[in-house]
Symmetry: C2
Subunit: 198 residues, 2 copies
């Protein structure tokens, strides 16, 4: 399949999912967003399930690509992670749309091992990103003593919660972000006023 076509179908699926929700997500609605026929969709994807599985992969890959940060300074890496988790994916779509789609998928996880496995992999990668930065930061003397795995698990749990609130309560994630950053400052013995050297 054409890469351009694939991207257009994924974007259409995303829009249709956010507009109608998982329960009312039909191939017709995805096709409408794509501005092609329903049969054209079945030409590229045999079943709706296959299309949605592909979409999940696409969504998670897009999210994970944001988490990568190559900086050697663990303080920069940690800040970049929080930034990535709360920032919109692209300039044109807001972070809420993304969180809505992801929560829809998460709510389906109990009924699909595939979904569950992929979400578990994402979660582990998120926790490892945080734990790694914390570990390196402690080693380098930037942070005070703390259990990297515990800090990582707590931060990732709080991020999960922040995303739920953003979707279910239509709340801006900025408050949650501030609190998570405050927690990190406390737990790692960072002075919030101290600037990290660029």
């Amino acid at each position: 399949m054409n890469e351009e076509t694939r991207e257009a179908v994924m974007a259409a699926t995303h829009r249709a999912l956010c507009t109608h929700g998982f329960a009312d997500l039909t191939t017709q609605r995805i096709a409408d967003e794509w501005e092609k026929s329903k049969a054209a969709l079945h030409y590229h994807y045999d079943t709706k399930e296959e299309l949605l599985r592909t979409f999940l992969d696409h969504l998670l890959a897009k999210f994970e690509s944001r988490l990568a940060c190559e900086s050697a300074d663990p303080r920069v890496r940690l800040d970049a992670f929080v930034d990535a988790v709360f920032a919109p994916v692209e300039a044109d779509d807001d972070s809420r749309e993304f969180a809505v789609a992801l929560l829809e998928i998460k709510a389906q996880a109990p009924y699909s091992e595939t979904y569950r496995d992929r979400l578990a992999a994402l979660d582990e990668r998120m926790r490892e990103t945080v734990a790694g930065a914390v570990r390196d930061g402690i080693e380098a003397g930037h942070f005070g003593d703390a259990d990297p795995d515990d800090v990582a698990r707590f931060v990732v749990t709080a991020i999960n919660g922040a995303h739920v609130r953003e979707v279910a309560l239509d709340e801006s994630p900025s408050e949650a972000r501030r609190l998570i950053e405050g927690y990190l400052d406390d737990a790692l013995g960072r002075d919030p006023a101290t600037e990290v050297p660029a």
Copy 2:
């Protein structure tokens, strides 16, 4: 309607929702769980939407009833809150089933103002429960200085996250609970070893 009937329909809806998920929740499946006909369901509830609205009320009321704690000691109240949030609703159903149903509802919130409003009310009550206990605890000299609203928001956000992880990753909430309790000990300057007098 008979109270017994109502309770049976609510329980059937809960089972059907947890078994099939919101997307595949049909009146037929609820009727099957109830072991009555689909038409009988429409006899009691005009529309599927009305039934689900009633179910949401039932689910939230059940949850909120657990949050009430009358103790005068804010430390006891705070512990009871964390207990209530993580404990199974009843002896016969586990906390996961409940969290699954609640997450399904939360994922529908963007498409229903009714759902969103009720979830917002629950969230506010949860935050006020924590903030009140923290405020009283600081005043009574049990806790160190902290912003009660910030602590409450962060704790409730983390609880939201813990519930998502329980559902989406099929993870036991015990780790998350331990971390939340640890955060409270830190933020409120509590000694984890100190026993609260009964």
